[in-house]
């Protein structure tokens, strides 16, 4: 029994001891938890303190460190700039120098700010990881993850320091911006957006010593006021320059080649519409359209610009009809005007070639100062006044042009012929071959005048030659899918707008418009397509086409043959044109359409496609004229 009692006692004691041990263990755990919580809290406040703590470095030391680092950045920046110029681009050496300057820039900024120095490096590190680690990936899913994590990484110090680390984090974006401008921007634009960057933007980035500019941004004020002033000016200029570099890539034609210039296209568009109802009113500023479209519709900036410009012009047209915007009537007006635009574009079968900056021109110039608009003679006195004019001729392609001058005076149904004196000689014809010419002439009435007349000068220019060109893409024998891929590529680059698909000519007196393909303005030609060719002549100036001496659409020399129709659809001569031909109503040549057969060389070839430009010559005579009112008062002698 006693043994049993002892065992029961021992068991109770053991149980009590176990309970005690358990209690002790729980207490230990509690203490450990408290300690851990304290440690954690201390760690948080330590990190917070680390970010917020002011470094106890004397201002003199800070100032000299900042001065030293910024001067070093300026000098190394200049060295890197000259290396880049000498070595014509980014080399391994300049690349690593850029990275070093990037780190140095971070250090300089860290010295410059008093608090939270380390936070400056966070965005820098994040950028390095993105740009070099992930090769600047723009994959949406990746960007989402990366930006989310970046925000967390950036927010963490800001939270721990109660927002004080946010400012230096923003500072940290400055070296990132400069590194991006220095080495990243151009390849990034080309690689990710496939933008054919213009030499202008290229030069804008290439000819700027970015790190030197950064050095000027961070250099502390000195006692030398002149230096401070120059540095301040450089900073302002630098900010403007950076803004320009960042905005320019968004603008077609300035930042990147849009293959065919958008603005000339709009002016062409205006011309076409002007045929219906006069010149288009001024719409939205193209620059504003560019910027707005770059943000609102980055996928199709050119299309968006065209739409915005058109819409703004149409709104002005409808507003000018006193229709209130927002009403149903206003919408109807917009729809009607839009339809007119479409019609106008269909009419514009040829266009002006913007790549010809200098074109053949001839015009009469009257010097108001020396022109005898009003002459008083006494009765019986012979009128010996010579009416002077000058014909200014630009002949950049040195064509051989013959000028034949005439003049006359009209008053109602009365016409008095004039006698032309050319360059002081009694001749009316001259042939020029030089580039710039000024031909002075005078006109003298062959009979006496009395009253108000209209003096008309005329010059007929013979043997003028204007060459039009037309671009076509040959895509050979391909599957429908392959064809579509090529068409997609080319419609984004080579044939961006309809005007790229029609014939173009210098902005001269007249031009031949021509087109061929499945339809006349379809630029894509496959091996098995049936090709129709059409042509017309446009009077592009204010004078008159007298006579078409010759026209030739040079497709035969490229191996094409006329499958059906008259051979005169591609070349002909001695065409008399009606008086009514003008820029509004192109003259459709006789035998102007036929069907062509594609040469073998443009049906089968190795390349995915071929681009060919075809030319057509128009040789013609053209008359320009100038009218000016004159008065001759005859006074009776007493």
């Amino acid at each position: 029994m006693a043994e049993e009692a002892e065992r029961a006692n021992a068991a109770r004691e053991e149980k009590e001891a176990a309970e005690e041990r358990e209690k002790a263990a729980r207490a230990e755990k509690k203490i450990a938890r408290q300690e851990f919580a304290e440690k954690l809290s201390r760690a948080g406040s330590t990190v917070g303190e680390f970010f917020t703590k002011k470094r106890s470095v004397s201002p003199a030391i800070t100032g000299s460190a900042l001065k030293l680092s910024s001067v070093l950045i300026i000098i190394l920046g200049l060295f890197q700039y000259f290396l880049r110029l000498t070595l014509s681009g980014t080399t391994t050496l300049t690349f690593y120098l850029s990275l070093f300057l990037f780190a140095l820039a971070g250090y300089a900024l860290a010295v410059k700010v008093e608090k939270d120095k380390v936070a400056i490096f966070i965005p820098m590190v994040l950028f390095v990881i993105w740009y070099f680690g992930f090769q600047g990936s723009l994959t949406p899913s990746f960007l989402l993850t990366y930006l989310l994590i970046s925000m967390i990484v950036l927010a963490l110090p800001a939270i721990l320091t109660k927002g004080e680390a946010a400012k230096p984090e923003l500072y940290g974006l400055l070296p990132v911006l400069f590194l991006f401008l220095d080495i990243g921007l151009i390849p990034w634009l080309i690689e990710n957006f496939q933008l054919p960057v213009t030499p202008f933007l290229d030069s804008l980035v290439f000819f700027m010593p970015w790190w030197t500019l950064f050095g000027l941004f961070v250099i502390p004020e000195t006692e030398n006021k002149t230096f401070n002033f120059i540095a301040a000016l450089a900073r302002i200029a630098g900010v403007i320059y950076i803004l320009m570099v960042l905005i320019v890539p968004l603008i077609p034609d300035i930042g990147y080649d849009s293959s065919s210039s958008l603005l000339p296209e709009l002016s062409e568009f205006e011309q076409a519409q002007a045929r219906l109802r006069g010149k288009l009113p001024q719409g939205e500023n193209p620059f504003v359209s560019n910027i707005a479209c770059a943000f609102s519709n980055p996928v199709d900036v050119p299309g968006c610009i065209q739409e915005r410009q058109l819409l703004s012009s149409l709104k002005i047209v409808c507003q000018s009809q006193n229709i209130d915007e927002g009403t149903e009537e206003f919408d109807t007006c917009l729809d009607e005007e839009r339809e007119k635009q479409k019609q106008a574009l269909v009419e514009a079968s040829g266009t002006v070639d913007p790549s010809f900056k200098e074109v053949t021109t001839a015009e009469f110039i009257i010097s108001e100062q020396f022109f005898p608009k009003e002459t008083v003679i006494t009765s019986g006195q012979e009128l010996t006044v010579h009416y002077p004019a000058t014909v200014k001729v630009k002949n950049p392609r040195r064509q051989e042009i013959t000028f034949d001058f005439s003049c006359f005076f009209t008053k109602g149904s009365t016409t008095v012929p004039g006698v032309v004196s050319l360059q002081g000689e009694t001749k009316t014809t001259i042939t020029i071959v030089t580039e710039n010419n000024e031909l002075p002439i005078t006109c003298t009435p062959s009979a006496s005048l009395d009253g108000s007349y209209k003096l008309v000068y005329e010059a007929t220019l013979s043997n003028l030659k204007t060459t039009s060109s037309l671009k076509r893409a040959f895509i050979g024998m391909k599957s429908d899918q392959e064809k579509q891929q090529i068409i997609d590529q080319l419609s984004r680059t080579t044939f961006r707008t309809r005007l790229d698909s029609v014939s173009q000519a210098p902005d001269e007196f007249a031009r031949i418009n021509f087109g061929f393909g499945k339809t006349a303005d379809d630029p894509y030609i496959a091996a098995d397509d049936s090709l129709i060719l059409v042509s017309s002549v446009t009077n592009n100036g204010v004078g008159k086409i007298n006579h078409i001496r010759n026209y030739q659409i040079k497709v035969l020399e490229k191996g094409f043959t006329v499958k059906s129709g008259d051979i005169r659809c591609v070349e002909g001569s001695a065409i008399t044109v009606p008086e009514t031909i003008s820029s509004r109503t192109p003259y459709v040549l006789p035998y102007s359409s036929c069907f062509l057969a594609l040469p073998e060389t443009l049906q089968q070839f190795d390349a995915p496609f071929r681009i060919e430009t075809f030319f057509a010559d128009l040789i013609y005579d053209y008359t320009i004229k100038k009218e000016i009112p004159i008065t001759v008062k005859v006074e009776m002698t007493s």
Partner: protein, 285 residues
């Protein structure tokens, strides 16, 4: 000490970012991640302007960042207007550009040179030329996962060697090529002795286009695996890769045992790849 802890914080952030990124951008020779024949920016040169009568040179430097060799590499320049530019030759070929391997972890580099002459611009001040460089080659991709196969976990009293069959598809980071097996779903049989199915989703994660894909070899533990493209007859081993879409391959094998165990799959694909690089050149008088 504090600086060290902050740097550690940053490094951990970097590590987190690297690990949470869904796919490794660069393939390594272990056949993981995404890799293809890339243009070496530093070594390539494309002039921006050329004057009438000038001869100009263009150089395309390629580096094979894939874990496989690129065969029949062909570079074609197209898009120059033949009226204004004469290319001396428009095509260059190379039989092979070796991929990344244990012996060459950087992949082979190759240079392609082209030369052109600017003709008379016939009075025009300038002409803008947008042209394209077409890079095409053939290559392969091997998918070698080690899945757990057998009956599902709901069947008790079977040996499982500690492996389990995942519910739903397992995602993969790429196999060192632009063509990737994005995910694989295992559909075990509902009873012993049935067929196990592997449904592979293929995706193009490269910068170019995959034109056709061919099923090359398919093995499960050294035995043949029957695979076919979904929606295609079993005989069709080559299909056109749908642009911007995925392709499904269904493989089946007869289970020899109802036990679960880890085995090795080997499925390889051949594909032909095309990448188009756009450039521009301004011709000046």
């Amino acid at each position: 000490m504090k600086i060290v802890s902050i740097i550690a914080l940053l490094l951990i952030s970097m590590l987190v970012i690297s690990c949470t990124q869904g796919n490794k951008q660069i393939a390594d020779f272990k056949k993981e991640g995404i890799g293809e024949v890339d243009v070496s920016r530093q070594e390539s040169y494309f002039p921006r302007t050329a004057h009438q009568g000038d001869t100009f040179d263009m150089g395309l430097a390629l580096i094979n960042n894939a874990a496989y060799d690129a065969k029949d590499v062909r570079v074609v320049v197209a898009g120059f207007d033949n009226a204004f530019v004469d290319l001396i030759h428009e095509k260059e070929e190379k039989a092979l550009i070796a991929g990344r391997s244990l012996f060459d972890q950087d992949g082979e580099e190759a240079q392609f040179q082209f030369q052109g002459v600017v003709n008379d611009l016939l009075g025009a001040e300038f002409k803008n030329q947008n042209y394209f460089i077409y890079l095409t080659y053939n290559s392969k991709m091997e998918f070698t996962p080690k899945p757990c196969i057998g009956l599902r976990q709901i069947y008790k009293n079977i040996q499982d060697q500690g492996c389990s069959i995942p519910e739903g598809a397992t995602r993969y980071n790429g196999q060192g090529a632009p063509l990737t097996v994005e995910s694989m779903e295992i559909l075990p049989p509902s009873a012993s002795g049935g067929e196990i199915k592997f449904i592979l989703t293929l995706r193009n994660r490269g910068k170019g286009n995959i034109n056709t894909v061919q099923l090359d070899k398919a093995m499960i533990a050294n035995k043949e695996l029957h695979c076919q493209f979904r929606g295609e007859p079993e005989m069709t081993k080559t299909v056109i890769f749908p642009e911007m879409k995925t392709l499904e391959v269904v493989c089946t094998a007869l289970l020899e045992t109802e036990n679960r165990y880890t085995t090795t799959l080997f499925i390889s694909f051949l594909y032909d790849y095309e990448r188009v690089i756009q450039q521009s050149l301004e011709l000046k008088r």
